[in-house]
């Protein structure tokens, strides 16, 4: 706990001093970045202590606010969420020292450090008011980070969508905490155990409040609409933090609050599973359609959150049905996937940032051939791509392995509908897994491989050591997770036993131990090494000649003829996607035998946002405006009439009393 306070102190100091009007542009970077790095290191120690100690540490100070107290609690669950927070925070801070433009950097450090503090406070708060306080601070600071490029209209629009979504979600959380506080008599989490006595309908209402409230932050399916806009607008390391960590704090909240509610009816889990799989399918399909690399990654976050939610739902459902082994597997899968997603998604966002930094564009079709110009970044992105596609020997497989095992366990042992749903989900999840490979090969193939598709890409430059080292650390962690999955299970187990005390012995025992996966990852590395040495050996023996790519008879292949980001998904789009997802294209038609030069606009906006939320909001706003015009017409007579009629009405009312 002391290290946590030290970390907050450092981060806070850095935040306050970095944006002062310093003469030199280096001082903010040293103050802000240095404090962020030191603060994160100190925070990592705190998280490590929390994980190793295995028992909760509490701290409490009175706070003068009514209903509030400055109570903190650092237990396994909190530490489990603190760990990735500070890892990504550290990497992001190192990365940002190079990535941020000089004039925007100082203020950025303020928000960045405060974001880290508020996130850490969210996962350690043990009082409703303090939680909401930290929660809202987290939303605001991340909003300011999203609009770092505030001179761009689209960045501001994205930030606004984000703020709107998160604020609407927060209203539900307010409702939850206030109701919970009213029931349990205090906003302290220590008294929330009284919620366990609630009747099922009330508890279900509270659960729905939680789902909407936290879902809008976590990007659970119908509430994900802010995510694809906000992530591309933010600086890349901020996208990494938001996508890798901030989104997870919502899942932390969901888990923590659900642990106070009485044991769930089966349908809670079913609802989560349904939302999860829809989100996963929708997210990955949309990710395949984006030409903006960061937008694609943002949709991939929607997909991964969907998978996590699916696993959590399956956990709840199997726990309610008394299937402890399957429940433990699902919970472990959800937690491990959550941790893994933090690692590889932040790696990918940092990598994408490096590509943007190097090539000057977010559009996949303007990159190409970066593998040659930016070899290290590209290698790291390939690693991240493998991890997110759940390919061995990286960590992505470990989480998915648990989830698949849980679903397989359910599908192969339960009968009737109990077996039907896991089996169906398994198939759909496999489809998602296949599509992830489409998405990742697309990003790698279009952006990194081949020849440059724009003059800027041809002049791209590799990132410097701060950015590269930040990414390398993340990639190594991804690999370590794949090679030592038992470690992942141990870490997740610290949180798991708190959430599901019934399966404490399962987490510690051998039934769900994934050590064979690590073994297999080593064997895969070995066989790859063998094949590689064979290849090198044959290459040494023979001659190596260089030539142009075989153009199937065409002598002058050009990068404009290569497959583009859109053509890459055309097949999947026409074969698999439903029509509402199909992107819109404008002005593509050519006329006549010798068509003139045609421009072609291709957009893949979020269908839910564009076809549901935006029209709904616009219609409501228009309706309100019409009401306003009628009510406040500028005519003094009518205003006086309001006063008169209000008096008469109130007199009548008073008379009735």
């Amino acid at each position: 706990m002391n290290f946590l306070f030290l970390s907050w102190l450092l981060l806070g100091l850095g935040a306050c001093t970095a944006s002062l009007p310093w003469r030199s542009s280096k001082i903010p970077a040293i103050l802000g970045g240095g404090s962020a790095v030191l603060g994160c290191l100190s925070g990592l120690i705190a998280a490590g202590q929390g994980l190793i100690a295995g028992k909760a540490e509490t701290f409490s100070l009175p706070w003068s606010m009514p209903g509030g107290s400055f109570s903190l609690r650092l237990d396994g669950l909190s530490a489990f969420f603190l760990l990735p927070l500070f890892i990504v925070g550290l990497a992001g801070a190192v990365y940002a020292t190079e990535y941020m433009q000089k004039e925007k950097a100082p203020l950025h450090w303020t928000w960045y450090n405060f974001l880290l503090v508020s996130m850490a406070m969210v996962v350690t708060a043990a009082n409703g008011l303090l939680f909401l306080f930290a929660w809202e601070c987290m939303s605001l600071t991340s909003f300011f980070l999203v609009i770092t490029e505030f001179n761009l209209a689209e960045a501001v629009a994205a930030g606004w969508t984000y703020l709107l979504a998160t604020h609407l979600g927060a209203a539900f959380l307010f409702a939850f905490f206030l109701t919970a506080g009213a029931f349990s008599g205090s906003l302290d989490f220590s008294s929330f155990h009284l919620l366990g006595k609630l009747s099922v309908p009330v508890a279900s209402a509270l659960f729905l409040l939680l789902l909407v409230g936290f879902g809008s932050k976590a990007g659970i399916f119908p509430f994900h609409v802010w995510l694809p806009d906000a992530h591309p607008a933010a600086p890349s390391h901020v996208s990494a933090i938001m996508s890798g960590v901030m989104v997870k704090t919502a899942i932390y909240g969901l888990l923590r609050m659900c642990s106070f509610l009485p044991v769930s009816p089966v349908w809670w889990g079913g609802l989560l599973m349904a939302l999860g799989i829809i989100g996963a399918l929708f997210g990955i399909a949309m990710a395949a359609l984006q030409r903006d690399v960061k937008r694609g990654l943002a949709y991939s976050t929607v997909e991964n959150v969907g998978i996590i939610i699916l696993a959590l739902g399956f956990w709840m459902q199997s726990r309610a049905a008394g299937q402890h082994l399957i429940a433990a597997l699902a919970l472990a899968g959800a937690l491990i996937h959550l941790l893994n997603h933090t690692l590889f998604k932040s790696l990918l966002f940092l990598g994408a940032g490096s590509l943007i930094h190097g090539s000057g564009s977010r559009n996949l079709n303007h990159m190409g051939g970066l593998m040659r110009r930016m070899p290290v970044t590209s290698l790291l992105i390939v690693c991240g791509g493998m991890a997110i596609s759940a390919l061995p020997p990286f960590n992505g497989l470990v989480g998915e392995w648990f989830i698949y095992r849980a679903l397989l366990g359910g599908g192969s042992t339960l009968s009737g509908l109990g077996g039907f749903f896991p089996a169906a989900l398994l198939g759909l999840l496999a489809l998602v897994g296949g599509m992830v490979i489409i998405v990742m090969t697309r990003i790698i193939g279009i952006a990194l491989a081949g020849s440059p598709r724009s003059p800027e890409a041809a002049q791209a430059h590799e990132a410097g050591w701060p950015m590269l080292s930040a990414m390398t650390v993340m990639a190594l962690l991804c690999l370590a997770g794949g090679l030592a999955p038992v470690l992942l299970l141990r870490v997740a187990g610290q949180a798991g036993v708190l959430l599901d005390p019934d399966s404490a012995n399962l987490f510690a025992g051998q039934d769900i131990n994934p050590w064979w996966l690590g073994m297999m990852a080593f064997m895969l590395l070995g066989s790859l090494l063998a094949a590689f040495s064979f290849s090198r050996w044959r290459q040494r023996r023979g001659t190596v000649a260089a030539a142009n790519t075989w153009g199937c008879g065409f002598a002058f292949p050009a990068s404009r003829m290569a497959y583009s980001a859109e053509s890459y998904t055309e097949l999947a789009q026409s074969g698999m996607f439903c029509s509402c997802l199909i992107p819109e294209s404008k002005d593509g038609q050519t006329v006549g035998y010798f068509p003139l030069i045609r421009s072609f606009v291709f957009t893949a906006p979020d269908p839910l946002l564009e076809k549901f939320f935006r029209p709904l909001f616009q219609w409501t706003a228009g309706y309100c405006r019409r009401c306003c015009c009628r009510l406040q017409s500028g005519n003094l007579h009518i205003y006086l009439f309001y006063v008169f009629s209000a008096t008469i009405l109130l007199l009548f009312w008073a008379w009735q009393r």
């Binding site: 909401l132 609009i147 001179n151 209000a646 008096t647």
Partner: protein, 481 residues
């Protein structure tokens, strides 16, 4: 001693007003404002320290509520007076004799209203605020400001006249109840239990409508957007933060009378209904509001609704409402002052014409943005705490529907205000440059900055003396069974 202190705090602004009217120099005159403002603040602190005071045969006095209101007025006015220095220097050619005089008279009237322990005095003071603020609204001397002034004057006068009727009704209720007639507040509280119910209820309705017009409950709020929109930002701040607080104090006095007469349930129901209607109206009007100063006016309507709900629900919500009174006043101050700067720079307050303020006016635009976040209840600013406290009271009182509506309106208003504020603050400045000579000065940004810092500190840490001010005020409004 007590008499002297209260007389001093009243005479200071009055004497200042007379002096301002007499001084010939447009350059020197504005300095009277910070002088009076700071002295008033100092005296206010002395008064707050002094405990309960009473003077002029008990016609004037200081109870915890007056202490709170006095603190609010004084803080706000002090901030605005420093701002006025910068503002009036910028508009030196416009003349400021009437403006400064009326500002000080306005302060005098508000102080009098805060200290009044006699309903007649209270009425006269509130009416004086109307009369003295009308010329302030007319400061810009164009067609729109005339229109705003006329509407303000007429609606305000009619409302306040209704309040007079209400006072007479309450007094007659005493007579009809067989008691002695007095408009002394303490006498009324003392004898309220015996008052004649029909007269008392009718009187309450007239008082609610009358002072409610000044407070700006919907649908009596119609003068607000016009007056706030056309007045200089400085005046808007004083109206939205000071005048509304004073008028709300008058309503609280009414509530005290109803409590004393054991009619608390009815009064609180009326407050709750008024509060919810106000929030609903504000929510509808604030959406896509094309004029950012009018938007602030609707936000003021909303916050009056919040206060009414907080007071009506009782319990801890009353404390929240008292806290919110201060927060609302200071935050509105920040918003109006910053909006005034933006208005001056762009020479427009239409959303279409004002874009990219953060590029041209980095400080004012940041203050405007932060003020918006504060007023919509975002931490770490104090309105978050006070609104949350009110909500806590609502929920722990079991008013779940009210709580749900409250949250819903808050969210809608956040959306409505946010889209306007963001398009004002961000983006690229328009071609039409506005007044390119306008510069932000220490006076015009420092004052709102200080106010923002105050609510920032209060949002994180509420010192015990300050907390006691709110708690004592809230204790007066507790229903004693």
């Amino acid at each position: 001693m007590e008499n002297n202190l209260l007389a001093l705090i009243l005479l200071l602004p009055f004497g200042g007003a007379c002096l301002a009217f007499a001084l010939p120099s447009d350059r020197l005159r504005p300095w009277l404002l910070p002088l009076c403002g700071s002295l008033h603040l100092v005296l206010t602190f002395v008064v707050i320290q002094a405990g309960p005071l009473s003077a002029a045969n008990g016609w004037l006095g200081i109870d915890p509520l007056s202490r709170l209101i006095l603190l609010i007025i004084s803080l706000l006015f002090c901030g605005c007076s420093f701002y006025a220095l910068g503002y009036l220097r910028y508009r030196i050619s416009w003349g400021n004799r009437i403006f400064v005089t009326c500002l000080l008279l306005f302060l005098f009237a508000m102080t009098l209203a805060a200290m009044a322990r006699h309903l007649g005095i209270l009425w006269v003071a509130v009416e004086t605020t109307t009369v003295s603020s009308a010329p302030l609204i007319y400061y810009n001397r164009n067609r729109l400001s005339i229109e705003a002034t006329w509407k303000y004057l007429l609606l305000g006068s009619v409302g306040i006249a209704l309040a007079m009727l209400g006072i007479l009704f309450v007094a007659y209720a005493g007579l009809a109840g067989g008691g002695h007639v007095s408009l002394q507040f303490d006498d009324i509280l003392h004898g309220a239990a015996t008052y004649s119910r029909p007269w008392l209820k009718a009187g309450f309705v007239f008082l609610l409508v009358g002072f409610g017009t000044k407070v700006g409950f919907a649908p009596l709020h119609t003068w607000k957007p016009d007056a706030y929109g056309e007045a200089p930002g400085l005046v808007g701040a004083l109206l939205a933060g000071g005048l509304t607080s004073v008028a709300f104090l008058a309503l609280l006095r009414t509530l005290q009378i109803m409590d004393a007469a054991s009619e608390a349930v009815m009064a609180r129901e009326a407050f709750l209904a008024m509060g919810l209607i106000s929030m609903a109206f504000a929510a509808v009007f604030v959406i896509r509001q094309p004029d950012f100063k009018r938007m602030l006016a609707y936000s003021s309507v909303e916050h009056m609704g919040i206060l009414a709900i907080g007071v009506s629900v009782g319990g801890i919500a009353t404390f929240g409402a008292m806290f919110h009174l201060l927060n609302n006043a200071l935050t509105k101050g920040v918003l109006f002052l910053a909006a005034g700067n933006i208005h001056r720079r762009f020479e427009s307050k239409r959303v279409g014409d004002v874009r990219g303020a953060i590029i041209l006016l980095p400080f004012s635009a940041s203050l405007f943005l932060l003020g918006f976040l504060a007023i919509t209840g975002s931490p770490p600013f104090a309105p978050f705490i006070s609104e949350f406290t009110i909500l806590q009271g609502i929920f722990s009182g079991g008013h779940y529907v009210t709580g749900g509506l409250f949250l819903f309106f808050l969210a809608v208003i956040f959306i409505g205000m946010g889209s306007t504020v963001l398009s004002v603050v961000f983006g690229n400045p328009p071609e039409k440059k506005g007044d390119e000579n306008y510069r932000e000065t220490l006076a015009t940004t420092g004052a709102p900055l200080i106010m923002l810092l105050i609510i920032l500190v209060l949002g994180v840490y509420l010192p015990d003396p300050v907390r006691r001010i709110f708690a004592d005020a809230a204790a007066l409004l507790e229903v004693r069974p």
